[in-house]
Amino acid sequence: MFRVRPLFRSRFFPPPLSPPHVPPSSPSSLSPSLWRLQPTFASRQRPLAEECPASSALQRRWLWRRRRRQRRSRGSCQGQPAGPLGGPPASRGAAPRGSMAMNYNAKDEVDGGPPCAPGGSAKTRRPDNTAFKQQRLPAWQPILTAGTVLPIFFIIGLIFIPIGIGIFVTSNNIREIEIDYTGTEPSSPCNKCLSPDVTPCICTINFTLEKSFEGNVFMYYGLSNFYQNHRRYVKSRDDSQLNGDSSALLNPSKECEPYRRNEDKPIAPCGAIANSMFNDTLELFLIGNDSYPIPIALKKKGIAWWTDKNVKFRNPPGGDNLKERFKGTTKPVNWLKPVYMLDSDPDNNGFINEDFIVWMRTAALPTFRKLYRLIERKSDLHPTLPAGRYSLNVTYNYPVHYFDGRKRMILSTISWMGGKNPFLGIAYIAVGSISFLLGVVLLVINHKYRNSSNTADITI
């Protein structure tokens, strides 16, 4: 294979056949090797224009093309430093090199030949010189060194520790009492209720508040070892049914299986969550000096999320009679009474019963609390629950002992950050301290290594 064939010397140049037919820019469509010699040979070492008189128009055109190529490359090399390094183009066409280019320039202007400047063609593939495309977007380049991040660590420490102390103190000021009434211990008053035979079983537990509870007091029930977050449990509900959808009422979602239908009737509300609803009744009495228990007013409305009560849970449409609206359905198997008999108040009955709604929000952990009742503050002068002896009356319906569960009743006041939980305060203090400690470590590091730099590697 010849890449360059020296046999064709310049006196035959340009060879008679191909020039006009060959577009110089497309090497693929060319007549083969005949042609390959020309650039190496004739193009630069001899004044070509003299030797090949531009007699025929075709030839001239061809010559022009060749020269344009040459001039282009020359232009880019000499006058156009923009090529490789992106600088501004300098005076192009200054001092064209060699006699040929001179000739060409002169003739071209006389003939009014086609324009052939390097950038002469309107469309160039030159990429846009924008900061975005050239990847020169202005950027902030933070450098993390011990010296620069030191203040951040100390500032975090100084901010977090006081916040943590504040939260911790707030949490500690919250009054909270927990009464376990599971009754697994033989001494417990509720021990008798463990047997399923005793119905209804009512037990009373006495307790003492050492300090009075001020402000609104919230009554919770708490369950332990109850996996409300189990996958099959969580999805075993039909939100359309609970939203009052008539078709879903009579044809609950398959997710509710195996608590979907009972005795060929659809269960309302269907599913495992509803079926396992907490149904103990808790009552609270203040035992005064004269051993005559004063009942504490427990408010049962307002314990559910507003959106749940007013948007998410709706009774099925129909007449005034709630029983009529639930016609054709049956109660969940474990329930003692149907859903339309949960409460006498029509605004707290059926699906919009707040105890039911609260239960339907499944907890994240197997030990959880749910809001049961509100004890509203009566006046500013008297504490809501003064210190003293109280008794808790439990109508014990909800069995937990067979899965080793526990049941609790919790009385709690609430601060701006919710109920009692020292964790967040401790965490703030801990993180703040760690940050402070890291700051000290970095300070030491900074001092130790400040002057040792291996800048020798690179020089400006």
């Binding site: 294979m1 010849f2 020296p6 010397r9 310049s10 090497p27 650039p39 190496t40 060749r66 282009r72 490359s73 880019s76 090529g83 490789p84 390094l85 593939r125 030159r126 990429p127 010189n129 495309k133 990847q135 020169r136 950027a139 380049q141 993390l144 060194t145 620069t148 991040v149 609104n216 977050n229 189990h230 996958r231 099959r232 939100d239 939203n243 999320w305 948007v311 998410k312 929000r361 499944t362 907890a363 994240a364 952990l365 030990t367 609390r369 749910k370 809001l371 609430i414 601060s415 950050m417 919710g418 009692k420 939980n421 964790f423 967040l424 703030y428 940050s435 470590v441 970095l442 590697d457």
Partner: protein, 633 residues
């Protein structure tokens, strides 16, 4: 989620390729050719190239050969630096050489011998044009040597079938062609001297081997020892090699060393090696499209390879690895949380988050940070990358992505997920965090954790970012904001749009909880404080070259860009040199790569022909330029 990440990586690579083709520094105005990437999955390999195979003629030299330097009897003549005014024929300008002849220096006979050899041993055909002699050479190096000899007074004037005629300094003598054998060696050595200069490497560590020898060196018995020898050299120069041998060398090296190889060439004879190497680069525009069409990257000038590797290669590697590691990190963080949750839900498979929130995690809420990391990240500026080629070692050795780094990120993610899950879980364990006293549910915890995850993961992306462009800000802060906005809207659509009933009302409750806001500052801080401290300590104790350069950049920006100006100055010098080189460029060989060549895998880079009935050499030797009258028309 994994497939989303993978698609993301592909998209990212396409973006990187786009940025490569948009580089004006790699745009050659001469033939209106920008750099072009023809494959989409090799960006990071560009940053790991350890062995570079380059075609010489055409590619490296732009077909320009100059006689610049020579070594005769142990004395080196000529300077390495190119003198500013460059003539077409010869840059060689060392008066010592001629002076040594005149002064009867002990090496004078050697010098004369050398120059004689230069003048006679070649296949150049002289043409008389009045007083001028024009040398028609099949390869530019021969022409350069003959011109060099001419300049030094040993003028090659005519050729006959059995002799060549030269005019030496004082006397005319006819030298017979049998000298030819010596000459070849001289040519090669001389040629390699040129090449060595171009490569910027010391000649004494370069192994030089020609095609015939290579045939034996690559035979099975000695292949291994040849490779050991070759790999121990800084540079290996193979002369007069066939295309097949070119690709064979690449293949052998590729198999022997576990490193990325790159081949660059411009002609059809380089196609084999371009295809064999991991990364093939074609010089576009000069010698047809053969090399370009078979390459992974097409650039217009050999000199652009520097930027292709040092800037785009290293950047791409950095970006892709950072992006991959980050994608791993963020997914591990989120999904390991589900594992922690499994411990408290009886391993039932319940997920802590709402399903669409999980689904959109990689698609929307943390989609932008990997892209800004992958597209706009730059460890240091282009100028620095070019000024400190040592930086390429970082990517070359794969320091950005290896088992250690990978597991480091995984463990980091594990620790983060622990904090991200258990801190909120413990803070919310009594379900009584609302001022209204209402109890909360699992999704309440889930949404809080999810918010912390998004915030932490976005901030972590910020921590990984060394260059914060406006897009980085948009990605980091915008992602967090997007999630909050989505959260707000998503919590209100049931039952209007029948999805996400359990999300209904969540946003109001979560956002009104003091615990949420307190935790929002605590948890991400708790996660990232260790990262920041670790990085700062490492930076201070054991500064890497990269960090050194970064500091230098910052300093230079502060000191009125003194350093960069300096660097620009250097670039300008290089530019001058480049321009000069281009100025002497002969017009490129046109019309190569015809169908004729496509079918034939053989051929020589050096305008030599093998297996021909009549070799080119013989044809040239048959010339008799003294009889030119008879050939004139």
């Amino acid at each position: 989620a994994r497939s989303e990440s993978i698609n993301g990586i592909y998209f990212l690579k396409s973006c990187l390729l786009f940025s490569l083709s948009q580089d004006t520094d790699m745009y050659y105005i001469g033939n209106d050719t920008p750099a072009m990437a023809r494959t989409s999955n090799l960006n990071e390999e560009l940053g790991q190239v350890k062995y570079l195979f380059s075609d010489k003629t055409g590619t490296l030299t732009c077909n320009i050969m100059n006689f610049k330097k020579c070594s005769i009897a142990g004395v080196t003549y000529g300077s390495v630096r190119m003198p500013p005014p460059c003539s077409d024929s010869c840059d060689f300008d060392d008066p010592r050489l001629l002076k040594n002849i005149e002064d009867r220096h002990p090496t004078a006979p050697c010098i004369q011998e050398f120059l004689t050899l230069l003048a006679v041993c070649h296949t150049v055909v002289p043409e008389k044009d009045g007083d001028n002699i024009i040398y028609q050479a099949s390869s530019p190096d021969e022409a350069a040597l003959v011109k060099g000899a001419k300049k030094l007074g040993f003028v090659f004037t005519a050729r006959t079938p059995f002799s060549v005629i030269i005019e030496a300094v004082s006397n005319m003598r006819i030298v017979r062609v049998k000298w030819h054998v010596y000459c070849k060696y001289d040519t090669i050595t001389q040629h390699c001297t040129d090449l060595g200069n171009l490569l910027g490497k010391e000649n004494d560590v370069a192994l030089i081997i020609d095609g015939h020898t290579l045939k034996y060196a690559l035979s099975f018995e000695v292949r291994r020892s040849f490779l050991d020898l070759a790999l121990s050299c800084k540079a290996v120069i193979c002369c007069r090699v066939s295309p097949l041998q070119k690709s064979e060398i690449v293949d052998v090296v590729k198999k022997r060393v576990k490193a990325i190889t790159l081949a660059i060439g411009d002609g059809a004879n380089d196609v084999g090696m371009i295809q064999t190497a991991h990364v093939g680069v074609g010089i576009s525009g000069n010698e047809g499209m053969q090399a370009t069409n078979n390459s992974d990257y097409a650039i217009a000038q050999f000199s652009y390879l520097e930027k292709l590797l040092l800037v785009h290669g290293a950047w791409s590697y950095n970006r892709v690895t950072k992006c991959i590691l980050y994608c791993f990190y963020k997914n591990v963080v989120l999904y390991i949380i589900e594992l922690w949750f499994a411990f408290v839900n009886g391993f039932s498979g319940q997920i802590l988050f709402e399903r669409w929130c999980i689904g959109l995690y990689n698609v929307i809420f943390t989609a932008l940070p990997p892209f800004t990391l992958g597209i706009f990240e730059r460890s240091c500026t282009q100028e620095s990358m070019l000024r400190f080629p040592q930086l390429y070692k970082i990517t070359q050795n794969g320091e950005g992505f290896n088992t250690k780094v990978f597991w480091g990120h995984c463990i980091n993610a594990l620790v983060h997920s622990l904090i991200l899950f258990w801190f909120p879980m413990k803070a919310l364990e009594h379900d009584t965090v609302l001022t209204s006293g209402h109890a909360t549910d699992y999704l309440f915890v889930g949404n809080i954790v999810y918010t912390y995850v998004v915030v932490t993961v976005c901030l972590k992306a910020g921590l990984e970012t060394t260059a914060w462009t406006k897009f980085s800000h948009l990605a980091v802060w915008g992602s967090m904001l997007t999630w909050l906005v989505f959260f707000g809207i998503y919590s209100t659509i049931w039952p209007t749009i029948p999805i996400a009933p359990d999300m209904r009302g969540q946003a109001t409750m979560v956002l009104s909880s003091a615990h949420f806001w307190l935790g929002l500052f605590l948890v991400p801080t708790a996660c990232l404080i260790e990262d920041v401290a670790w990085r700062a300590a490492k930076h201070t104790c054991k500064k890497t070259l990269l960090e050194e350069v970064q500091e230098l950049e910052t300093k230079s920006r502060v000191l009125g860009k003194a350093v960069l100006r300096d660097s620009n100055g250097k670039r300008l010098n290089e530019r001058d040199r480049l321009i000069k080189r281009l100025g002497r460029k002969t017009p490129p060989t046109l019309f190569r790569g015809s169908s004729l060549q496509q079918g034939v895998p053989h051929g020589y880079a050096f305008s030599q022909e093998e297996h021909g009935a009549v070799s080119q050499e013989e044809v040239i030797r048959a010339y008799d330029t003294t009889k030119k009258k008879s050939r004139k028309k």
